[in-house]
Symmetry: C2
Subunit: 439 residues, 2 copies
Amino acid sequence: MSTASNLSDPARLSARAALAAIRAGRLSPAALVEACLDRIANRDAVVKAWAFLDPAVPRAAAGCVDPSAGPLAGLPVGVKDILETSDMPTACGSPIYEGRHTGRDAACVAALRSAGGLVMGKTATTEFAAFTPTDTRNPHAPGHTPGGSSSGSAAAVADFQVPLAIGTQTAGSIVRPAAFCGVVGFKPSFGTIDTSGMHHFASSLDTLGVFARSVGDAGLFAAAMSGWKALADPQPAPPTRVRLIPAPAWDRATPEALAALTSAAERVAEAGVPVDDSPLPDELADEITALLVAQERIQLCEGRRALAWERMAHLDRLSPGLRDHFESVADIPFEGLLEDRRLLVEGRRRIAALMAEGEVWLTLPAPGEAPEGMTTGDPVFCRAWTALHLPAIALPHGTGPAGLPLGVQLVGRPGGDPALLATAAWLETRLEPAGAPGA
Amino acid sequence: MSTASNLSDPARLSARAALAAIRAGRLSPAALVEACLDRIANRDAVVKAWAFLDPAVPRAAAGCVDPSAGPLAGLPVGVKDILETSDMPTACGSPIYEGRHTGRDAACVAALRSAGGLVMGKTATTEFAAFTPTDTRNPHAPGHTPGGSSSGSAAAVADFQVPLAIGTQTAGSIVRPAAFCGVVGFKPSFGTIDTSGMHHFASSLDTLGVFARSVGDAGLFAAAMSGWKALADPQPAPPTRVRLIPAPAWDRATPEALAALTSAAERVAEAGVPVDDSPLPDELADEITALLVAQERIQLCEGRRALAWERMAHLDRLSPGLRDHFESVADIPFEGLLEDRRLLVEGRRRIAALMAEGEVWLTLPAPGEAPEGMTTGDPVFCRAWTALHLPAIALPHGTGPAGLPLGVQLVGRPGGDPALLATAAWLETRLEPAGAPGA
């Protein structure tokens, strides 16, 4: 999206353009932070992306940063409010933790600070990164959801309030809000960014990732937090083959979403890359459907266990929806969880064997445009890839009937994150994102 | 060990005997807590098992417990001090966190309280459950280590200060101290007990487990924290086959440890269960050796990442040893970690395929008796099974030349925890533990 190189509005710069300007002495970290704070001041009443923001904190940090400090030197970032921060409260989207200071940084937050990044504030999250929506709004249309659970991170990046933000995904909590807000959402392979200091919901699925306004910015940020240098500067490169994945739950996709996907596939084919759009073998389609069911059950069973203290000590401060979800799995015996996990382990091996070297899968990130009202939308198009621990990335492409962003999702091989980013950087230049919000 | 049913010294009762007495109205939770506090008062200056203990807290809890509250009703337990507790500080064996209150319980602590258990106090842990020893002493001989990292939990249970305690294992931190202290140490399959609220070191390896003075007590406690009911009351049952595993690093075992193992194998054979003591195929021995190397590297690489904040904000308060360990892996690229993890995933699949239904592996838990001085001993005999996510249990058997406990380790199939406990309960009655400490 914005790769503007002029400095009239630094908040609209990409992360990499801002970095270059800072390094060249044409932009100070303080000026960048002020530009972002201005944007937030103008837009926060509408977008409501922040769970905590005290301008004094990023201002103080900007005053201390050494422009040569590291790969994120001087860049303000949003931190999802289920991640601990030493200088800001961590409320996890729950009244149970309102105003709680833990006095330390999550490992990924420390890593971004070590790289010179500045924490702008804590972004709004659904309750414990699960189902209960925040009051964050889609910056493209305030009557619509930004998606969740990383609602504030997606909205803040889309709305030019920060160039980068951290998200987490247990089902579809990065890829889906990225698509709804028209930004890049990158969920790396499971375990790429360390989760210490994160409030877990389902530890066998919870995956840290990033929001940015370009693939290159996403790679820069993910590399700084993970230490995986090969992610830092993705060079556009076509895949050897793209497989169109008409699953799972294809029947839930809107016509406009399918049209955007078809158009993206055509652009891939026009560039000379073979696109396999043959129907999935029944066996594979069945396996993916089984994975969806197992993923959802694991998420709930593990979430119920992980929140044992919150249930014991503060049951009345959990939302009725979350209590109902937990109640719905209370009778599943431990053997059921084991069986579901076993299915996922087997699935990881079998699906990996189907993906050829250099191949990426092209599918939908969400059923269509962001829906209206108090919902975070359907994660069905993301669940399987999260369950399989595969790297996935949402790219904006096209605009729906309500004028909201549409997009596509690319899924890579296990541990094939650098190749996935190279493909995404290649495809990005061939797609047509929706216009900027709140311009 | 102690299955005494008389109530002259309730601190020496097994967990299940104490429960039965409480349920029958012959023992009050308050009297049990007082007996344990008396034992601690008499022994703490020597054993030093506790990082935090305020008698008022368990006394207050004992006064409130309903004897019919749940499967642990009225039982005092020790909680390793890397697990958060809402009413006690959590210091992680580090000056960085001295006196820190987090205001919530780890999920496993909440689970044990929901089952009626009482938290006696926080047990001493090596720094972040890694390498730097505590000043806890082996209750059998104060000049010797209790092992680590779950030093205080193993020592407190062995010394009759509590009937049950929680441990965690990333390499050998449950099985080895259990063997050194002459108690049962059960490390369930990875992911059996939820780790939310635990200070992680290496999240792909960190596993919660338990210390107890009998297999039945270990099962009771693990069932209450995991919700896996099949663990709760293991009925002694012989395995179909026992495979003696003369690896890895057999050359590090002392003659007395090998003699204890041989004697245990003979007792299995005498009971009519086939024991396969043929040498491991070279390929398998090589694979296990490779797993050891990968496990150690993953532990350090993940630990270095997980402690990013502690390194950034408090480097001078990390021990020199831990800093050196982190420095030793600072140059390993992310791809190295990925490759090591891949090796473990493949190993899990291949090794699982080698274990027949009903088969258990019999091996050593440690090279021999607990060594003297400031060391927690060698975890080499545990690393591979932790890396493979397999359930493992240490059982005391025999006494070394210094009069300290020896033992054996049983390793089960993936997810075969109930069968492993049944075998362990069967074997337990055929073994000869060392005498009680500090009697």
